[in-house]
Amino acid sequence: MSAPPTERVKPSPAGDEDLTRLRNADARRGRLVRGVMLAVALVYVSVLLLAPLAGIFIYALKSGLGTIGQTFSQPDVRHAFLLTFVIMAITVVVTTFFGVIVALVLARDRFPGKRLVSALVDLPLAVSPVVVGLMAVLLFGRGGWFEPFFASRGIQIMFALPAMILVTIFISIPFVIREVVPVLQELGMEEEQAAWTLGASRLQTFIRVTLRNIRWGLLYGIALSAARAIGEVGAVLIVSGTLTGKTETATLYILRAFDQYQDQQGYIVALTLATFSIVLLIGIETFKRRRTAEAD
């Protein structure tokens, strides 16, 4: 390369010729380097992410449509999917409802200890699902803090649906909040204030202005939350008791299928979850693009 750099200067119009020459010579090397980078990136992604996905497609479909039909006709498989769906639905409703409230508070309110609250929201991301199961055992298992309260009323929390829902909620709490807070912060309160000035009620403003403005971030958070809820396995493994046909989710079914030499069924159910996740993923991507597009 030619001119030795003595100080950093902005290129001036007079240096345009040099610039062009350098750029041309550079462009070729540049393309090569970029090509290599792109190739490496593509190979890494293919090997790490795509290949396993292809593997599961192949394995699940290897058995033929007959086995697939047979798997879905099994009552325990159907129940597992139903259970997964129910848990996901309740989790999403709870984490969305309260998540928006918490997001509003975090983005707009000011009080001592707000930092702590914000940190608390991030906590579930750091906790291993196994530990979440342990938390549930400590609270609701025999000898747990709340066990006498529920036991005396004949309400079954542990090894039943409620415990499974509670642990899934714990794990899913951060997603909606983390996605909505930055959106709220960027938006500020101008539009709401304008609405109030025009005489809109609080509820009207909330629905028509706030919710509308955060919708893509909110949907993104909901999609992440749903995906997480569907995929939960560590915590529910501990708290569910894995009663087939009663407390066995789709993920727990997969574990059992591989345990009991039913690999084919395991792959098929895993593939179903993967497919659903991918559809969810495309939804996430769409929401994300809309959110970033609107933020600009």
Binding site: G154, Q156, M158, A160, G241, T244, G245, K246, D259
Partner: protein
């Protein structure tokens, strides 16, 4: 009060009651307070928590028994909920509140755990056959052709060997394995280890556990791990190996000359069965497990041996004969083994494990 406020605070209890409803629905399924003596055609639900291995057998036993019961009881269909996992894990879950009415354990000590928690009140130890429903022996699963020439317990101590055995804290099967090695040594059936010599038994266990590389959470997991290509030998149940071979597994079974008879008890969890008003049904089912028909199903589906020790030592269609088949009673009984000689604070395994690890 502004409408938004009312809506907001109303929604919260709505959500909470959703959860409450879910709780109630699950609790009402598991039993109402007060049982009526005549439950007309209501579909009672029995929950079975079992150790990891016999899922096929219990599947068949349940469906067979269900239809027999239905015919004999006016069309009443008894529903079964089943859960399979490590025997000790299941025991712990039951203690923690899993509403199991029947516990199919792989070891008596695990049943003892549940009994100590006050959930079992029947005298299962003095029931017919000590409540044992399945029998087998502890064997070695090896690679085709037995490349490491494993024949007996002392062969497991050869340096560089990789052994798989489950985690004794979660799997009953693991403890059978340890007790088998201990017993064989104590009975003087292992070359190089003196009879009735606890120190020698400890030495054998230490040699074995120096070579143990994986401790899975259940006997089932352990064998699956072996089949996936890990290790040179897995210590496991003979009928577990037979099940795996029937499913296409390629491992070979090596029957040690001296080994313990695995006796797995299945017991009614009285407190839960009473709470769910299914004691009669569960008692009948457990009694059924000892019938010839059930034993035949166990033998054909789970490849287990006959319960009687002398019979069990003979070869079956799928399993070889055992030269010296002993029971835990022959080496002191489970109580002594668990609290003293093997798993106690100064037990052979406890000490062996600590020094093998160190």
């Amino acid at each position: 009060m502004p409408r938004w406020f009312k809506r907001r605070i109303l929604a919260a209890p709505l959500v909470l009651s959703l959860i409450g409803l879910a709780a109630c629905s699950s609790s009402s399924a598991s039993g109402a307070a007060g049982c009526s003596s005549s439950s007309p055609a209501a579909s009672p639900v029995v929950t079975l928590a079992a150790y990891s291995n016999p899922y096929l057998a219990y599947g068949k036993l349940i469906s067979t028994w269900q239809s027999e019961w239905k015919d004999a009881h006016d069309g009443q269909l008894v529903q079964f909920l089943t859960s399979f996992g490590g025997s000790t894990t299941q025991a712990q879950s039951i203690i923690n509140g899993l509403q199991a009415d029947i516990y199919a354990s792989s070891t008596a000590p695990d049943v003892q755990l549940v009994q100590d928690a006050g959930l079992i009140t029947n005298d299962w130890q003095n029931a017919p056959e000590g409540s044992t429903v399945q029998s087998g022996s502890v064997v070695f699963a090896v690679r085709p052709g037995n490349p490491k020439h494993i024949e007996s317990w002392n062969d497991l101590t050869q340096p560089g060997l990789q052994i798989l055995t489950p985690d004794p804290a979660q799997s009953g099967g693991a403890r059978w394995n340890i007790v088998a090695a201990y017993g064989a040594a104590m009975r003087g059936e292992v070359p190089g280890y003196a009879k009735n010599n606890p120190a020698d038994a400890q030495r054998l266990l230490e040699g074995i556990f120096k070579n143990v590389t994986v401790m899975d959470k259940s006997a089932n997991d352990s064998l699956k791990n072996f089949e996936a290509g890990n290790g040179d030998v897995a210590i496991t149940y003979d009928y577990q190996v037979a099940t795996s071979q029937a499913a296409g597994g390629e491992e070979e079974l090596v029957e040690p000359p001296s080994t313990v008879q695995i006796r797995t008890p299945t017991v009614v969890v009285d407190k839960n069965a009473e709470a769910h008003c299914v004691e009669d049904i569960t008692n009948e089912f457990v009694k059924y497990l000892h019938s010839k028909e059930a034993q035949d199903i166990f033998a054909s589906t789970a490849y287990t041996r006959p319960i009687d020790t002398a019979q069990a030592a003979k070869a079956t269609d799928t399993l070889p004969a055992v030269k010296d088949l002993f029971t835990t009673d022959d080496i002191g009984g489970w109580d002594a083994l668990v609290n003293d000689t093997v798993f106690g604070p100064n037990g052979a395994f406890t000490l062996a494990f600590q020094s093998a690890q160190g």
